[in-house]
C-alpha cells in the first residue's frame, strides 16, 4: 500500500527524480507536464520564441556549470529579450532569472568589476517592483565581499525604506534581513570607533566628539537588532554583537535578559542539555528539551548525530513520562518549517546515503513528531536493514506507541 505511487509514475530519468517528490498528498507525473502545457495554450504548438529562449536558458546554465563565462555572457545577451516576452507570466518571471544568472556571470567573469556589477544591479532592481529588496540585499552582500562597507551600508539603508510592491511574507523576511545586516554593519562601525576611542586619552579634545559618535552608532544598532531578535529565527551572530555592545555600556541587565531569552544554537548546548537532564528539577528537564530543539534549529547542526541521538532518546523519555504538553510546546513553533528543513524526501535519501545511523535517529524523531506515515520515516523503513534490523523494529514499535500524532495519546 505504501508506495503505489512509485509504480504509477511514468518513465523517470535521473534528472527528473528531484521533481517527482510527493508533494503533500498528491502524486506527480513529470511526463504529463508537457501535455498539460499544451492544454493551457489551447492545444496549439508552443511558439518558437518560447522554445528558443528556453534553449538559451539551458545553454547559459550549462556554460555556468562549466565555468565558461564568455559563453554564458554570449547567451545571456540573447536571453535579455525575455524581458519583452509577450507571455505576461514569463515576462514577470524574467527579471529574477536574469538577475540570478547575470550576477553569477558578473561575479566570476574576468572582465567584470565592481562597477559593472553595480550598474547591473541598479538596473535590475528597478525593473518592476518585486525584485528590489532581494537584489538590494544581494548587491549589498557582494559589496561587503569586496570590502566596500560604506557602499553596502548605503544600499541597505535605501532598501530599508523601500515602500513599493506587495506586502508579502517574503518581503517581510527580506526587510528583516536587510535590517539585520545593516545592524551588523553599524555594529562593525561602532566597534571600529570604539577601538579608536580606546586609543584616545580622556583629556584629548577629540574624545568627546568621538565618544558621542560612538554612542550614536550604538543607538542605531540597538534599535535595529532589538526589534529583530523578537522575530523567530536564528540570529546568533547578531545577538552576540548586540550583547557585546550592551555590556560595554554597562547594561548588564539588558545583556542578561537577552541571553536568557534566547537559546543559542551551539554545540556546547549539548553539554548543557546533559547537565539539565541529570538534574532533579522538573523545570530543568523541560529546558533540556528546549535546548535540544534549539540546537537543531541551527543549520550547522543538522547532521550532528549526537544532537539527534539525544533528541530521539529524550523525546521518547519525555513522551513516556506523560509530558506531551512540553513536546507540543516546542513543536508548535516548528511544525511549519522543520518538516521541510529536516525531514524532506530529499534529506531522507541523502542522509541514508551518507550516514545510516544518523538517518535512523532522524527517522525516529520524525516518526515521533510526524507520525509513522511521514515520508522520512517511511523511506528509512523501506531501506535494506541488514545491520540495523533489530533497532528498526524497536523504533517502529516505539513510534507506533508514542507518536504525538497518535490519537491514543491525545488526552
Amino acid at each position: 500500500m505504501s508506495d503505489f505511487s512509485e509504480e504509477l509514475k511514468g518513465p523517470v530519468t535521473d534528472d527528473e527524480v528531484e521533481t517527482s517528490v510527493l508533494t503533500g498528498a498528491g502524486m506527480h507525473f513529470p511526463w504529463l507536464q508537457t501535455y498539460v502545457e499544451t492544454v493551457a495554450i489551447g492545444g496549439k504548438r508552443k511558439k518558437d520564441f518560447a522554445q528558443t529562449t528556453s534553449a538559451c536558458l539551458s545553454f547559459v546554465q550549462e556554460a555556468l556549470l562549466k565555468h565558461q563565462w564568455q559563453q554564458a555572457a554570449e547567451y545571456m545577451y540573447s536571453y535579455f529579450q525575455t524581458l519583452e516576452d509577450s507571455d505576461s507570466y514569463k515576462r514577470q518571471a524574467a527579471p529574477e532569472i536574469i538577475w540570478k544568472l547575470g550576477s553569477e556571470i558578473l561575479f566570476y567573469h574576468p572582465k567584470s568589476n565592481v562597477e559593472t556589477f553595480s550598474t547591473f544591479a541598479d538596473r535590475m532592481k528597478n525593473i518592476g517592483v518585486m525584485n528590489y529588496l532581494k537584489i538590494s540585499l544581494q548587491h549589498a552582500l557582494y559589496l561587503l565581499h569586496h570590502g566596500m562597507l560604506k557602499d553596502a551600508k548605503r544600499n541597505l539603508s535605501e532598501a530599508e525604506t523601500w515602500r513599493h510592491g506587495e506586502n508579502t511574507s517574503s518581503r517581510g523576511i527580506l526587510i528583516n534581513l536587510i535590517q539585520a545586516y545593516k545592524g551588523l554593519l553599524q555594529y562593525y562601525t561602532w566597534s571600529k570607533k570604539k577601538m579608536e576611542l580606546s586609543k584616545l586619552d580622556k583629556d584629548d579634545y577629540a574624545y568627546n566628539a568621538v565618544a558621542q559618535d560612538v554612542f550614536n552608532h550604538s543607538w542605531k544598532t540597538s534599535a535595529n537588532i532589538s526589534a529583530l531578535i523578537k522575530i523567530p529565527g536564528v540570529w546568533d551572530p547578531f545577538v552576540k554583537s548586540y550583547v557585546e555592545m550592551l555590556e560595554f555600556y554597562g547594561d548588564r541587565d539588558g545583556a542578561q535578559e537577552i541571553l536568557y531569552q534566547i537559546v543559542p544554537s551551539h554545540k556546547l548546548m549539548l553539554e548543557f542539555h546533559t547537565l539539565l537532564r541529570k538534574s532533579e528539577k522538573e523545570e530543568h528537564h523541560k529546558l533540556g528539551l528546549e535546548v535540544l530543539f534549539g540546537v537543531l534549529d541551527f543549520a550547522g547542526c543538522t547532521k550532528n548525530i549526537t544532537a539527534w541521538k539525544y533528541l530521539a532518546k529524550y523525546l521518547k523519555k519525555t513522551l513516556m513520562g506523560n509530558h506531551l504538553a512540553w513536546v507540543q510546546d516546542e513543536w508548535n513553533s516548528r511544525k511549519n518549517w522543520w518538516p521541510n528543513f529536516h525531514f524532506s524526501y530529499f534529506w531522507a535519501k541523502s542522509d541514508w546515503k551518507e550516514d545510516t545511523a544518523l538517518a535512523c535517529e532522524k527517522a525516529f524523531v520524525a516518526g515521533l513528531l510526524l507520525g509513522k506515515g511521514c515520508r522520512y520515516f517511511r523511506y528509512i523503513l523501506k531501506q535494506d536493514h541488514q545491520i540495523l534490523g533489530k533497532k528498526i523494529k524497536r523504533m517502529k514499535r516505539s513510534v507506533k506507541k508514542y507518536s504525538i500524532v497518535n490519537p491514543r495519546l491525545s488526552y
Partner: protein
C-alpha cells in the same frame, strides 16, 4: 506647401488685435496672426482642384499629410501592411538572384487577383462600410510604387476636403459614408494602429482566404513555382530562418508613420518560424482560391524535376554520383517524373502540388534501402567487403564504403546541428520597434526596449568580439564536399561496384531483400496516411531520416510518409491481397 502659401497671401485682412497683416495657418487649418498669435475662426477655403496643376496637388497632399498628429501617424489598412511585406520579400528574392519579373509581374498579379477575389479592392462592390475606404485603399495600392519601392502611402491619399471631388469622379463606392476615424477607435478598449486592425482580426468570411504573415510565403512560393525558379520550398523557408527574407520582424521596415499597436500585434507580430507543412497547405489553398490556371510545365530540364533535385541532394550528402542512375530509374518506374504528375494544377479536381524536395529525398532513401537494406546488419557487412577490397586495390576507383560514409557524415551532421541549435538559441526575436497594446502602454514598451538594449550593451563588452561571426551569405548547399579536401573524404566519385552485380545485360543489387516503411496506410481523411514511431525502425534508417529531415527542416514523420508513398508506387503489387516477399530490383545498365 504651395497652396498654403498662395492662400495665405490672398488673405489680406487686418488682425483684430494688433492690426498687422501677417498670417499663418494652425494645424487645424485656421488663420492666426504671426505677430500677436491671435487665432481667428477663419479657416482655409475649399479649393477647386481644376485650377491647380497635378504637381501641386501632390505637394498639397503631402503637406496636409504632415499635418496629421505625428503621434497617431498615417491612416493605413491591414492589407496595405501585407502588401508592404510582400514587396520586401520580393525585393529580397531579387537580391538572391531571382529575376525581376517575379516581383513586377508574377507576384504583383497574384496579389491583385487576391485583392479582387477577397473583394477588398479593384472590384465593383468592395466590402467596407466606410465610403472612404475603397477609393483610398485602391489608390494607395495601385499608386503605391510596387515596382521599385515598398512606399505605400505616397502621393495620392485623400485629404478631407478633396474627398468630395475625387469620389464624384469614381463610380466605385455605393455605400453612404461611415468613416472609421482613428479618434473613435482609440476610445474603445481594443484598438490598433491600423484603421481596420480590430475588425480584421475578427473577420470571418466564408470562402475567403484571409491573409496572414505565413501566407505571404505561400504567395512567394507560388510565384517562384510559376517562374520555375531553382528554389524549393525548403530552401525558401530556410532563407527565412536565416533572415535572408523578411518575415519575423518585417513590419519593422514599414514607413515610420505607419504605426503598429494593439490588434496589429496579433496580425504582424510573428514569433515562430514558418512550418513546411503549413506553408505547403497554404500554397494549395491560395492557388485554389485565386482560381489560377495550370502552372507552367515542370519538365525534365527544370530544377524541380526529381532527376535534377536527386542529383543535388546526392551531392549535398556526399553520396556517390553513380546512385543517380538508380534514382532516375525509380523515378521512371513510379511515373514520378511525368509532366502531369509534377505540374501544379489548382483547378484540377484534387488540387495538390508535389513536395519536390521531400520527394526527391524520399527517392534517395528508397535507393539506399534497395542497395543497403538498412536493417542494421547488411549495410555493415557490405562495408566490410568494401573496406577489404579498397585495401587491396588502392589504385582503383574505391568501392563506396557505407561505414566510412556514415562516420564522416555523422560527424558533419552533428556539428552542423549543434551550431544550428546554438544559433537558434541566440536568435533575437524582438525588434527595435516594440509592439505595444495602446498609447498607455507605449512608454512602458519603449522603456523595456531601452532597458534590454542597455543590458545587451553592457554584456557585449564581456563577449569576445571576434567570436560573433557575421551573417552567412545565403547558399543552396548546406554541406560542401570536394575531392581536394584531404581531411574529409569525398565520396562523389566512388563506385557502387561493391553492391551491384551483373546478370547478363542488367545490373542487380547484391541485396535481394526489402522492407516497407509502412505496411498499412491509413484510410481516413486525416492529414497523414501513416505515423512514424522511431523505435520500430533500424538505427541506420533513423539516422538517414534525421539527416535528410534536418537538411530540409521538416519533421522526420513527414519524410517517412513520403518514403512510404514512393514505395507504394514502386511496389504496387505488395499492397495487393497476396503478400509476397519483394524480389530483387532489376536495373537497366546505363
Amino acid at each position: 506647401s504651395v497652396l498654403e502659401e498662395f492662400q495665405i497671401e490672398e488673405f489680406k485682412e487686418r488682425c483684430s488685435q494688433c492690426a498687422a497683416v501677417s498670417w499663418g495657418l494652425t494645424d487645424e487649418g485656421k488663420y492666426y496672426c504671426t505677430s500677436c498669435h491671435n487665432v481667428t475662426e477663419r479657416s482655409q477655403e475649399v479649393i477647386n482642384t481644376d485650377l491647380i496643376p497635378n504637381t501641386q496637388i501632390k505637394a498639397l497632399n503631402r503637406g496636409l499629410k504632415k499635418k496629421n498628429n505625428s503621434e497617431k501617424g498615417w491612416d493605413w489598412y491591414v492589407c496595405e501592411g501585407f502588401q508592404n511585406i510582400l514587396c520586401q520579400q520580393a525585393e529580397a528574392l531579387k537580391n538572391l538572384g531571382i529575376g525581376p519579373e517575379l516581383k513586377n509581374d508574377v507576384l504583383h498579379n497574384f496579389w491583385k487577383r487576391y485583392l479582387q477575389k477577397s473583394k477588398q479592392a479593384y472590384c465593383k462592390n468592395p466590402v467596407y462600410t466606410t465610403g472612404r475606404k475603397p477609393t483610398v485603399l485602391e489608390d494607395n495600392l495601385s499608386h503605391s510604387d510596387w515596382a521599385s519601392e515598398p512606399e505605400l502611402l505616397s502621393d495620392v491619399s485623400c485629404p478631407p476636403f478633396l474627398e468630395s471631388g475625387a469620389e464624384s469622379q469614381s463610380d466605385i463606392h455605393t455605400r453612404k459614408p461611415f468613416p472609421i476615424s482613428k479618434a473613435s477607435q482609440s476610445e474603445t478598449s481594443v484598438c490598433s494602429g491600423s484603421l481596420d486592425g480590430v475588425e480584421y482580426s475578427q473577420r470571418k468570411e466564408k470562402g475567403i482566404v484571409k491573409m496572414t504573415v505565413p501566407q505571404t510565403l505561400a504567395f512567394c512560393y507560388l510565384s517562384l513555382l510559376w517562374q520555375r525558379e531553382a528554389i524549393t520550398l525548403s530552401d525558401l523557408l530556410r532563407f527565412v530562418e536565416e533572415d535572408h527574407i523578411p518575415y519575423i520582424n518585417a513590419f519593422q521596415h514599414f514607413p515610420e508613420q505607419m504605426k503598429l499597436y494593439g490588434r496589429d500585434r496579433g496580425i504582424f507580430g510573428i514569433e515562430s518560424w514558418p512550418d513546411y507543412e503549413d506553408i505547403y497547405k497554404k500554397t494549395i489553398e491560395v492557388g485554389t482560391f485565386l482560381d489560377l490556371p495550370r502552372f507552367p510545365d515542370i519538365t525534365e530540364d527544370c530544377y524541380l524535376h526529381p532527376n535534377i533535385l536527386c542529383m543535388k541532394y546526392l551531392m549535398e550528402v556526399n553520396l556517390p554520383d553513380e546512385m543517380h542512375n538508380l534514382t532516375c530509374h525509380v523515378v521512371k518506374m513510379t511515373g514520378m517524373g511525368e509532366v502531369d504528375f509534377l505540374t501544379f494544377d489548382p483547378i484540377a479536381k484534387m488540387a495538390k502540388t508535389v513536395k519536390y524536395d521531400v520527394q526527391a529525398v524520399a527517392i534517395i532513401v528508397v535507393v539506399l534501402k534497395l542497395l543497403f537494406l538498412l536493417d542494421d546488419n547488411l549495410e555493415w557487412s557490405l562495408s566490410n567487403l568494401a573496406e577489404k577490397h579498397n585495401e587491396k586495390n588502392k589504385k582503383d576507383k574505391p568501392w563506396f564504403d557505407f561505414r566510412k560514409w556514415y562516420q564522416i557524415m555523422k560527424k558533419a551532421f552533428d556539428e552542423k546541428k549543434q551550431k544550428w541549435e546554438e544559433a537558434r538559441a541566440k536568435y533575437l526575436w524582438k525588434s527595435e520597434k516594440p509592439l505595444y497594446y495602446s498609447f498607455v502602454d507605449k512608454p512602458v514598451a519603449y522603456k523595456k526596449r531601452e532597458m534590454v538594449v542597455n543590458l545587451q550593451k553592457q554584456f557585449s563588452t564581456l563577449v569576445d568580439s571576434t567570436a560573433t561571426a557575421g551573417k552567412k551569405s545565403p547558399s543552396s548547399f548546406q554541406f560542401n564536399w570536394t575531392e581536394e579536401d584531404t581531411d574529409r573524404t569525398c565520396f562523389h566519385g566512388h563506385s557502387l561496384q561493391g553492391v551491384l552485380k551483373e546478370k547478363g545485360q542488367s545490373l542487380l543489387t547484391k541485396n535481394s531483400l526489402y522492407w516497407l516503411s509502412t505496411q498499412k496506410f491509413c484510410r481516413c481523411y486525416c492529414t497523414h496516411v501513416t505515423t512514424y514511431e522511431e523505435s520500430n525502425y533500424s538505427l541506420s534508417y533513423q539516422f538517414i531520416l534525421n539527416l535528410f529531415s534536418f537538411l530540409l527542416r521538416i519533421k522526420t514523420s513527414l519524410l517517412h510518409e513520403e518514403v512510404s508513398l514512393v514505395e507504394k508506387k514502386l511496389f504496387e503489387k505488395k499492397y495487393s491481397v497476396t503478400k509476397k516477399k519483394s524480389r530483387s530490383k532489376k536495373a537497366r545498365r546505363h
